[in-house]
């Protein structure tokens, strides 16, 4: 019996539950100094003067640095982005967003640093501020003088003026996919010290090797002089996949001062320091037949990049890749433009470009269904890519590996009791027609497909059998809650017939693990897990050869008894060699450990999919929305451990619901953040959520031996549009066509008031061939 597919409890848990994890802020680091950053209070300004004398002479202060003091940087953006948009370690004379680090204070204690920060005087000469990405497109204010543009990246394709010519119905919608704060519960932290001439750097990151590469490049060090360790990491959600300038400063300070330094930011700093997620304005057009066939789709994306060209500027690439979603749409266009604004730079956040694609498409599929008077389930059923069409290449050229979209879709509707829900909705609407205190329900569907392991690159895995029989697994992935130690142990236990408790998984140390791509884009199991599986298979082969020698038999006749963890000659189980004996024999006889290292070569991306159904209740009198039920059916290929997979889906759903209903990082027109702490930002809590109803279908991918795809981000991608659609659905009979996210009581109430209970104006064309501004329906 294989252990794979079982609900194996996490091996990681006991430590976290008894003494807590060891996060960067918990490391002892004897005598470490604390770094405190003084951050910009202006959204866009020239730094006229900086007075740090008071801070420098404050008690406990060891050093105060401005960018001029730092002999490293600036950091150039990724090669294909506008190279004029470089970023200094600390602000280089111009600040471009509130929260940008300007001064670094190094002090004997955190308190001394905080006190000294109060004594720094910075004079700003204000520059015009651009906050709204749509306004930024035509703004004459350049966020980078010398760049002559605020566009770091774009994917512009010629529009076919006849794209919608043969459509009977064309529906347009402008959709705001709002900026949110990733909020891992552990904010950013780093520590660094010099050990025998090498920089040892502790990072709260999703990938130690990426941090090492960045430190090497930006501090001008030799690779062998940098050692990066990521201890326990308190969540990342994509945002800790980037390396931040503060981390570079921490590394630089350790070298400059020759003393250990540490930095743990406050949450208020983190809200304007850690990158933000999402932030797209989408103009969406969908067209098709009155019978419900979708024949043409156009998505135009404006991505808010924030003040610098970080990874957020690039994410629309993935939005475009996934634009047509789960539907067989013959004609699809998608152009994207990223734009700088005087706000926190955007980065990857759980889904990173794909949720935005799904949100746009799924919302307008509902608009399209409403326009032609069909049930949104019916429209989806009619347009889903059929199971026999895989591998399937979409109209934008993305090749989906495997799928059975209809199966997941029908199961989700069945689990939701879709028809009963519609009947209940009809009853509530009837009762509500004479009594507005009757709460209305809305039912939302979202069918999604996403891309996992989207970035080309393989992964490292190694397995070693020690002479005492313990098995050491090394992986290039970088877990921060996902449960890799448990899952990778299961893979090795299954391949080798060793007990879970005899397996140790090592990650996040660049001296022990030679290379690694880290964790992000839901890549870990399919690449890192497969690499470990490959290495385990090679160790079994070597052990078989060794056992054959020791047993004086032909390797072909040697079998591995996985139940007992022993090798023996077929038919003669009484004479055998255990893993422990073979591990010892390899050292004694050959002088080398019994081990194998594998680099699993990147086989291409995989495409998980599924359908989520959401049920919300809306108080028509107050606009209050309550999520009653959330039903998910996700398909990420073979499920390694349902307990872990469900956990990933649960967390994803909660973050997706949060975006649909609650969370938005907001600025005023002057670029001042309005939600820069957890008292002001609506971080979703337990009371705003029900328990979830999750299920899986399993359609294996042919791209790896385990048949697995990624499951880390699917929950977020599937849930947001389902909840969003449910809210709009609850209000449809009142004449509300669309409410932007987050569907806060204020926004829902206003939508109800302005609809006035009668059908709203909608930008819809019914005439064939019309693509310009058409008559309202």
């Amino acid at each position: 019996m294989s252990i794979l597919g079982n609900r194996v409890l996490r091996r990681e848990d006991p430590k976290f539950l008894t003494v807590g994890g060891t996060y960067v802020g918990d490391l002892p680091l004897e005598g470490a100094l604390h770094v405190t950053f003084v951050r910009s209070t202006a959204a866009h300004a020239r730094i006229e003067s900086v007075d740090v004398e008071g801070a420098r002479s404050a008690p406990g202060v060891v050093a105060v640095y401005t960018d001029a003091d730092i002999d490293a940087g600036p950091v150039a953006p990724m090669g294909f982005l506008n190279q004029a948009m470089k970023r200094s370690f600390l602000a280089d004379g111009v600040v471009r967003y509130v929260g940008e680090p300007v001064i670094a204070i190094v002090a004997e204690s955190r308190e001394a640093g905080a006190d000294a920060a109060e004594l720094v005087v910075i004079e700003y000469e204000p520059l015009p501020v651009v906050v709204d990405p749509e306004a930024a497109v035509s703004s004459e204010t350049m966020i980078f003088e010398g760049a002559d543009t605020n566009v770091p990246f774009e994917l512009q394709f010629p529009e076919d003026p006849a794209l919608f010519d043969d459509c009977e119905v064309v529906v347009r919608q402008r959709i705001v996919n709002q900026r949110v704060a990733p909020c891992p519960l552990e904010a950013r932290a780093a520590a660094a010290e010099m050990v025998e001439g090498r920089l040892r750097f502790f990072a709260s990151t999703q990938g130690a090797h990426g941090v090492k590469e960045t430190l090497v490049a930006q501090l001008g060090l030799a690779p062998e002089d940098v050692h990066v360790i990521s201890p326990d990491v308190g969540g990342g959600f994509g945002a800790k996949g980037s390396v931040y300038t503060e981390e570079l400063v921490v590394g630089w300070c350790a070298r400059a001062l020759g003393r250990p330094v540490r930095w743990s930011e406050t949450r208020s700093d983190s809200m304007v320091g850690l990158g933000h997620g999402r932030g797209q304005v989408q103009n969406v057009t969908i067209g098709g037949t009155r019978a419900g066939q979708i024949t043409a789709y156009r998505l135009n994306v404006l991505q808010d990049s924030g003040a610098y060209a970080d990874i957020g500027a690039v994410l629309p690439f993935m939005t475009r890749q996934m634009a047509p979603g789960v539907y067989a749409i013959p004609k699809v266009e998608c152009s994207t433009r990223s734009i700088l604004t005087n706000t926190v730079p955007t980065v990857a956040y759980r889904g990173a470009g794909r949720p935005e694609a799904t949100a746009a498409l799924e919302r307008v599929v509902d608009c399209f269904a409403a326009e032609i008077g069909l049930d949104p389930a019916q429209v989806r059923r009619r347009n889903l890519i059929q199971a026999d069409a895989f591998p399937y290449t979409t109209a934008v050229g993305t090749k989906y590996d495997s799928g059975d979209y209809l199966r997941a879709f029908e199961l989700a509707l069945e689990n939701a009791g879709y028809d009963d829900l519609r009947a209940e909705q009809a009853r509530r609407r009837e009762a509500g027609s004479s009594d507005r205190s009757v709460k209305q329900i809305g039912i939302g569907i979202s069918s999604y497909v996403e891309i996992t392991a989207p970035i080309a690159g393989g992964e490292f895995g190694a397995v070693e059998v020690r002479p005492d029989g313990k098995v050491i697994v090394r992986t290039g992935t970088s877990p921060h809650g996902q449960g890799h130690a448990t899952a990778w142990s299961m893979i090795v236990a299954d391949a080798m017939g060793v007990a879970l408790e005899d397996i140790e998984v090592i990650h996040g140390d660049t001296d022990i693990v030679p290379r690694g791509g880290g964790t992000g884009g839901s890549r870990s199991l399919q690449l890192g897990g497969t690499a470990v599986n490959q290495a385990a298979g090679e160790v079994v082969d070597r052990a078989r050869e060794l056992a054959a020698d020791l047993l004086e038999a032909d390797p072909a006749d040697i079998v591995l008894d996985k139940a007992g963890g022993r090798f023996h000659v077929a038919g003669t189980p009484s004479i055998s060699r255990s893993w422990r004996e073979l591990g010892a024999a390899s050292i004694e006889r050959d002088g080398v450990p019994l081990q194998a290292e594998a680099d699993f070569e990147y086989p291409g991306a995989t495409f998980p999919f599924g359908t989520h159904v959401s049920v919300v209740e809306v108080d028509i009198e107050t606009g209050q929305v309550r999520l009653l039920r959330h039903i998910s059916v996700d398909d990420a290929g073979k499920i390694m451990n349902p307990l872990l997979a469900e956990g990933q889906v649960h967390g994803g759903i909660a973050q997706g619901v949060a975006q649909a209903l609650l969370e938005e990082f907001r600025y005023d027109a002057g670029g001042n953040p309005l939600t820069a702490n957890l008292a002001d930002y609506s971080f979703i809590s337990a009371v705003e959520l029900p328990s979830f109803e999750t299920a899986f279908t399993e359609t294996p991918t042919p791209l790896n031996t385990l048949g697995v795809k990624g499951i880390g981000e699917a929950g977020t991608i599937g849930s947001t549009p389902a909840v969003h659609n449910a809210v709009c659905d609850a209000l449809a009979h009142l004449g509300v066509r669309h409410v932007d996210m987050p569907a806060t009581p204020e926004r829902v109430w206003e939508a109800i008031q302005s609809a006035g209970g009668s059908p709203t104006e909608s930008d819809t064309e019914t005439a064939t061939g019309a693509t310009g501004p058409g008559p309202g329906a």
Partner: protein, 181 residues
């Protein structure tokens, strides 16, 4: 605001008296982490919103970032490390079976992922169950009781399931809700 007045405090942390001369502005959470040296209690925010620093003060759950060390002078504090000291750091053989029922319930129900909110969450659930006494708890009450403890990984689903399981084991009448199970 620098060089604030110092005060002498003595706080019993997990049964052991810890006495120190501290700055008057020192928060209890910093006393626990930096003076008592117990790093299990985490800090997740600076507005008393997240609950990562939840500990029991004289048996009552408090956010230890909201209490000054000086205010806790003479009090007894229980942190995650003190909940089931016999389980050690969890690495020993059979440690899971030596854990406190709430810790065990979190393990058995996958009630944690990155682990950062976990110590606070476990202490909050322990307190909720103690407060319920022989009374009743249901999913809604647990969700309400945990509103001040934020988690970004689990979507709270398995935390609620863990709390329900632990409550049941503690003999609290748990209303059937069907959810979270």
């Amino acid at each position: 605001m620098s060089a604030s007045k110092s005060v002498r405090v003595e706080i019993k942390v997990n049964g052991k008296a810890v006495a120190a001369e501290v700055e008057a502005r020192l928060l209890l959470v910093q006393f626990i982490r930096d003076v008592a040296g117990l790093k299990g209690t985490n800090i997740g925010c600076d507005t008393t919103s997240c609950g990562a620093c939840t500990v029991l003060l004289n048996g009552q759950s408090v956010k230890s970032c909201t209490v000054l060390a000086a205010q806790a002078d003479g009090a007894s504090i229980l942190t995650i490390e003190g909940l089931a000291p016999e389980a050690g750091d969890g690495s020993g053989e059979g440690a899971a079976s030596l854990m406190h029922p709430v810790q065990r319930a979190f393990h058995e129900n996958h009630g944690l992922q990155c682990g950062y909110c976990t110590p606070g969450m476990v202490m909050a659930v322990t307190s909720l169950i103690a407060e319920a006494g022989p009374g009743e708890l249901d999913e809604a009450a647990i969700r309400e009781g945990l509103e001040g403890n934020l988690c970004r990984c689990t979507g709270y689903h398995n935390i609620v399931a863990s709390a329900l399981a632990a409550a049941r084991e503690a003999g609290v009448a748990v209303a059937r809700t069907g959810a979270g199970e």
